[in-house]
């Protein structure tokens, strides 16, 4: 896709974030930020909406981006979220946004299934 309409930005960011090594999932943000906090929630299939999971708001000259991610336990949450930040920033700068406000929250750390002890 090579369209330049603004509403693709969330989708592009989401796609790129999922591709970052160590990212297990994206979750919904907003007023019910960090809705999903543990593995049990996956049983509920809460994420049914069509709305993009990454929230992008225009603020004057720039944008604010808000995303909630789950990371794999094998990476460090701090390292993974910094990698995600770098990727998101690169995309936004690519679109010409100087000085974006990026807010990322790790809401879940996914354990590897236990192997033989």
């Amino acid at each position: 896709m090579t369209t330049t309409t603004r509403h693709d930005i969330p989708g592009e960011i989401e796609h790129a974030v999922r591709a970052v090594s160590g990212v297990a999932a994206l979750y919904r943000t907003g007023s019910l930020a960090s809705r999903i906090v543990d593995a049990g929630a996956r049983l509920l299939g809460v994420r049914g909406d069509d709305e993009p999971l990454v929230r992008v708001e225009e603020t004057g000259d720039s944008v604010r981006v808000d995303a909630a991610i789950g990371v794999r336990a094998s990476g460090g949450a701090g390292e993974v979220v910094r990698d995600v930040h770098d990727v998101v920033r690169a995309i936004l700068e690519g679109w010409g946004f100087a000085d974006p406000a990026i807010r990322l929250t790790v809401v879940h750390v996914e354990e590897e299934p236990q192997g033989a002890e």
């Binding site: 960090s34 906090v37 049983l43 509920l44 929250t105 879940h108 750390v109 002890e117």
Partner: protein, 204 residues
């Protein structure tokens, strides 16, 4: 009830004041609920009252069995019911505070809820152990502020408890280092429960 005497000569169970030496069933009921204390000599020395109290005590004694029978008469909760309940609860309440990562120009954080999940998963370090409640005390939103972590744990029978607690503590510490920028001043592992159920192997 005063009209079912088998024989006028034997003391019979009755609840009218004339059968209770002037006391009322309300008084006795109240006295029963107070655990028959402080001891009321007038009641305890009345045969009618004693009979009535015995009946009240017997009735009370049936309650646990009734409760058990009532619960047993109910269907077990099926998965449809469990899903119905889970669908009705909102999950965002547990996210807790936002715990920041060190970063110059971005707002990066991990939720308290995610941290508790990490801490809980530390139970894998001790086979059979379970971690219950996890509390993080301190200002987690302030970078560098020291925090203390408290957990409840249940461990299997067999190994020295301090060893298992230490192993859990070490695992929790390692996980917090790996996934957060918290300054952990201490980790308290309180073992409340030792699992004593036999496993199938030992029973044979």
């Amino acid at each position: 009830m005063t009209d079912e005497h088998d024989s006028p000569d034997l003391p019979c169970l009755g609840f009218e004041p004339e059968e209770l030496d002037g006391h009322t069933i309300e008084e006795l009921s109240d006295y029963l609920d107070a655990g028959r204390s402080p001891r009321d000599a007038s009641i305890e020395q009345s045969a009618g009252c004693r009979l009535a109290l015995d009946a009240l005590e017997r009735l009370r004694g049936l309650t646990p069995d009734l409760m058990e029978a009532d619960a047993a008469a109910e269907e077990q909760a099926d998965e449809g019911w469990v899903q119905r309940i889970l669908a009705g609860i909102t999950l965002d309440a547990r996210a807790g505070r936002r715990i920041p990562f060190r970063a110059d120009d971005a707002d990066l954080a991990i939720t308290e809820g995610a941290v508790r999940g990490i801490v809980r998963a530390a139970e894998g370090a001790v086979p059979g152990a379970l971690i219950g409640r996890c509390r993080v005390d301190g200002d987690v939103t302030e970078p560098g502020a020291p925090v203390r972590v408290h957990v409840d744990a249940s461990v299997p029978y067999g190994r020295p408890i301090p060893d298992m607690a230490e192993q859990l503590r070490a695992e929790i510490g390692e996980r917090l280092r790996r996934h957060t920028d918290l300054t952990v001043a201490g980790i308290d592992v309180t073992v409340h429960d030792i699992q004593t159920f036999l496993d199938a192997e030992e029973e044979r």
